[in-house]
């Protein structure tokens, strides 16, 4: 039978010659190998200071998006919760009162929006289901915590920083979203071409 790959190596079963039998030369060869590794570049990524670059399709923690004026986009339609295969999302809708137009984009908004990060499988179906561009998966992943309760992320944890008051942080978070959008756009375009 032919080998599937070219990597198969024949096992050498010849009896050891004298040089191999006294081991000493082989020991020196082994030590040369370890010394070579001593001076090699180390593969360690020093985690908190350095992070590994993620691929553009990486799916991390969700963020709730705002529009340019800093108004929440989510209308608590519940499509994400329906789409979610792990049933990690719960929400409560509320009606926007007069005077709250600068806070919420449409007449209905999510008064409570919770994602249980212990349930979430980071499939990204919520992002796909959302008709309002309100939820996106970011490049961060859930940090360690001491109790289960703190893994249930509420609106304060999920909302993107306000572009009016904290423009820098908003821009940084927004960058991820734009990257995703572009990627998705490219994807659909190539599909259309096909």
């Amino acid at each position: 039978m032919d080998a599937l790959t070219q990597r198969a190596k024949m096992v050498d079963r010849r009896p050891m010659n004298w040089l191999e039998r006294i081991y000493l030369w082989e020991i020196f060869k082994g030590m040369a190998i370890t010394l070579k590794h001593f001076f090699k570049k180390k593969v360690t990524i020093q985690y908190p200071e350095q992070t590994r670059p993620f691929s553009p399709v990486f799916r991390g923690l969700q963020i709730l998006n705002r529009d340019e004026e800093g108004r929440e986009r989510c209308t608590a339609c519940g499509l994400c919760a329906v789409a979610c295969p792990a049933e990690a999302i719960t929400m409560e809708g509320a009606e926007r009162l007069p005077g709250e137009e600068h806070l919420y984009r449409e007449e209905k908004y999510a008064a409570k929006y919770e994602i249980n990060m212990l349930r979430c499988i980071f499939c990204g179906l919520c992002e796909e289901a959302c008709p309002k561009d309100a939820i996106y998966l970011s490049e961060t992943f859930a940090p360690a915590n001491y109790n289960r309760k703190s893994f249930i992320y509420g609106k304060p944890d999920l909302l993107i920083p306000d572009p009016v008051t904290r423009p820098e942080e908003y821009a940084r978070a927004k960058g991820l979203i734009d990257k995703k959008k572009n990627l998705a756009l490219k994807h659909t375009k190539t599909n259309e071409l096909k």
């Binding site: 020991i27 030590m31 370890t34 001593f38």
Partner: protein
């Protein structure tokens, strides 16, 4: 007659306080230095291990992880001290103490540097220049086996006992080859004093390793085995004996055993450097031309440099070679090293005889 006796008695009674103080300070310094070196040898070991495995090693505690040994020591101190209820308590405590004691005691006869004049006194950087220095080292090293034996036996644990037996038989087997390899060297030097051996190497053209390459190699391998370092770490073989003779030990008693190993390594590297690599002789430098203090510092630098290189080689070997099987260990010791040492001895003896004629 009575006068003479009186004078003699007086000199005997006259206690040289300055001398005692000098030696006490020297002992304190040597013990501190060996402890610090042993501490940082643990750090160096982890760093070397990491680098040889393409990792970085400890680098979180302090800059470059330099505080790691302190953190480790602190951790060991705060661990719960467990003494097994079926163990014999006195011996259980005696084991690590003996291991530590014998590890520290060997440093007494090592000449750390030449004699230097300090404040009108000639200070000798050697605790005791006894004329049987090597014999003393062998005696103390054989005592070191007791630490392991007593610790392993007192634990009342089958793995510990087996490890202790293994350790004892290993130490005895390799001490033979070690002694035989040294006899050849002693034929050349004609002295057992480490000071004399070092001075001969400084005055002569070459270090002893040139005259005794095989002897050096045998001594090196045997000291690896005596220090229970890989590939001869059978007494503490984690994979088969589950930590070996220090299985039942916890807290600082375990720390003592581990520490004793590193001190042993440091001391045996120093002894190898002294016996075969010229001791405190800096190569290509004529010590006689330097002034007292400079010569001393250069000598210390030379000795410690050689010792650290040897320690690195010890670690390098540990992170390269797998552990020997027990029968391989015994075969190597009895069927290879001892005959080689005997051969080396006979050849050296013949050459010495021929040279004398």
């Amino acid at each position: 007659m009575t006068d003479y006796l009186n004078i003699k008695r007086m000199t005997l009674l006259a206690f040289d306080w300055a001398f005692t103080l000098e030696k006490a300070i020297l002992i304190a310094i040597i013990i501190t230095v060996s402890l610090v070196v042993a501490m940082y040898a643990t750090y160096a070991e982890r760093k070397v291990a990491g680098f040889m495995q393409d990792r970085l090693g400890p680098n979180r505690a302090g800059p470059f992880g330099l505080l790691q040994p302190l953190a480790d020591g602190l951790k060991l101190f705060f661990k719960e001290e467990v003494i097994p209820s079926n163990s014999s308590k006195f011996l259980f405590i005696l084991g690590p103490c003996l291991a530590m004691l014998t590890a520290m005691m060997t440093s007494a006869v090592i000449p750390w540097g030449g004699k230097v004049e300090l404040g009108g006194r000639i200070v000798d950087l050697q605790v005791a220049d006894i004329n049987i220095g090597i014999l003393y080292i062998f005696g103390v090293v054989s005592l070191g086996v007791y630490g392991m034996m007593i610790g392993g036996w007192a634990s009342n644990n089958k793995y510990s006992l087996m490890a202790a037996l293994r350790g004892a038989s290993q130490a005895i087997s390799y001490e033979l080859a070690m002694g035989l390899s040294l006899i050849a060297l002693l034929m050349l030097t004609g002295s057992l004093s480490l000071r004399t051996i070092t001075e001969q190497q400084i005055q002569g053209n070459w270090w002893n390793i040139v005259y005794q390459p095989l002897g050096f190699f045998l001594f090196f391998v045997c000291s690896l085995a005596e220090c229970n370092r890989a590939p001869f770490d059978l007494p503490e073989a984690e994979s088969e004996l589950n930590m070996g003779y220090h299985q039942e030990y916890s807290s600082m008693k375990l720390g003592f055993f581990l520490f004793a190993e590193y001190i042993n390594m440091f001391i045996s590297c120093t002894i190898i450097a002294t016996l075969f690599l010229g001791g405190y002789d800096m190569p290509f430098v004529d010590e006689a031309k330097l002034s007292g203090i400079t010569a001393l510092l250069v000598g210390l630098l030379a000795l410690f440099g050689k010792t650290f290189i040897l320690i690195f080689i010890f670690m390098w070997i540990r992170w390269t070679l797998p552990r020997f099987r027990y029968d391989q260990l015994m075969n190597l010791g009895w069927k290879t090293l001892i005959p080689l040492a005997l051969l080396n001895m006979v050849i050296t003896g013949a050459v010495v005889l021929l040279m004398m004629k």
